[in-house]
Symmetry: C2
Subunit: 287 residues, 2 copies
Amino acid sequence: MRTYLDCIPCFVRQALEAARMVSADAAIHERVLREVLRWSSEMDMSQPPPAMGQRIHRLIRALTGVNDPYRPARERQNRMAGDLLAEFQAEIAAASDPLEMAVRLAIAGNVIDMGVHGDVKKSAVRSSLRQAMREPLAGDLQEFRRASRKARVILYLADNAGEIVFDRLLIEQLGPARVTLAVRGGPVINDATRADARAAGLPGSLEIVDNGSDAPGTLLPDCSDEFRRRFAAADMVVAKGQGNYETLSRERRGIHFLFKAKCPMIAEHAGVALGAHVLLCPQAGGG
Amino acid sequence: MRTYLDCIPCFVRQALEAARMVSADAAIHERVLREVLRWSSEMDMSQPPPAMGQRIHRLIRALTGVNDPYRPARERQNRMAGDLLAEFQAEIAAASDPLEMAVRLAIAGNVIDMGVHGDVKKSAVRSSLRQAMREPLAGDLQEFRRASRKARVILYLADNAGEIVFDRLLIEQLGPARVTLAVRGGPVINDATRADARAAGLPGSLEIVDNGSDAPGTLLPDCSDEFRRRFAAADMVVAKGQGNYETLSRERRGIHFLFKAKCPMIAEHAGVALGAHVLLCPQAGGG
């Protein structure tokens, strides 16, 4: 997905919010804002939006000297999601279709996102999860089921901390032995890293890799050779979250995208309603 | 009032919205957006925000070749306000304190603003006016009454089209013979011009001047000598709307500001709640 004109005011607002969240120094806020304005004025709009997110957060880290400013937020989100885990594990155990329930909860977990609306509360996450158990799912669950049954190697691209606890529920349904979980190669916003994967209490047998990139998405040219090899070789790629959709929607290989459409431009691009819980299967993806 | 960092994302968003309202050409939208980003990246933050508004709307007019793109919107707003006039004239006639009622309605008319939230509907204006008749007024009405009784020459700075119909109600209370109404020197957004003053059915005896500037506010250095002379010589200056407050809040001379605080930064600067109906008297102004 390319960058739309509507993405730009949102970059500018998010850059200011992020600078303020990370630093109390007004000179740093102004510096970040002015740089992002200058970059945006010259931006290559064919790039996906997370390319700008990567630049913004690199700048904030460089100016503040803080390598991982969102670590406390991620740890809080992991704990919050961990507190909800047993409740929703029981729902899956009791469900007539545990895979469907796990897909729904993994998508709903995508409400834990600091990129769009700042931080999120446990009560909001629980109510989002409860709602997701009932509401329509925009996508072809049967296709997802067929593809997941056939696949020997599933590459699962995580999105955010906290959310990764609910990814665990879906990975348990897919069968951890054939799943490789990929996290970001370095800290960016609240995107899940290796430390968050460990905090999520994932099965010990699960292989965890990182993509070698600090973009809030999967910018393949910026990822490691090793990651790209796995990406090409996997029978099935499950990509969680808006950032992965934005960066991978134009890829030729089949990808199953699971996300909550929180941004109007992404919803429009994916052809779904704003706020929809989306499962995009390969034939419906692309573009 | 200087420009705050928070004003910048709002400029960028408003510039894109305005370009889209005026032109269907995506190349123009992108050009406007990129120019505004570049200007903002180098902006002198000591300037009041309407200085950027002036540049943005000059650019849109230059790129589209349309000298007054908001004229249909202003004419619609004048008609809409005109439809409501008799109803609220009757309220003033029946009020125990007609001046207070006219002040309240003039402030409430400031809801007709395209700068902040796009266009506005008649039902919203009526309900804003009805609400303004009851709700607390943030300001010292008695000081306004005293100053207006004493003044021989009152300069009344209009803000928007449509709104100017409700300014008429207050001008009728102040006494048209000693009031000079000032409008913008050229079209910018839906700010009131001479044509809008005529459309408002103002008393024939009322003197109307323009300020010689196409800024959406009163940037004194950009105004005509004649206007600045009148500004200095008036016994009382009544300034309507956020744009006039933003551009004149640092002036030394006493000014009575009447506006609805629709922007969080302006509300903070004026020390009032967001959404408040504000009457700022000279001793409370400045800064």
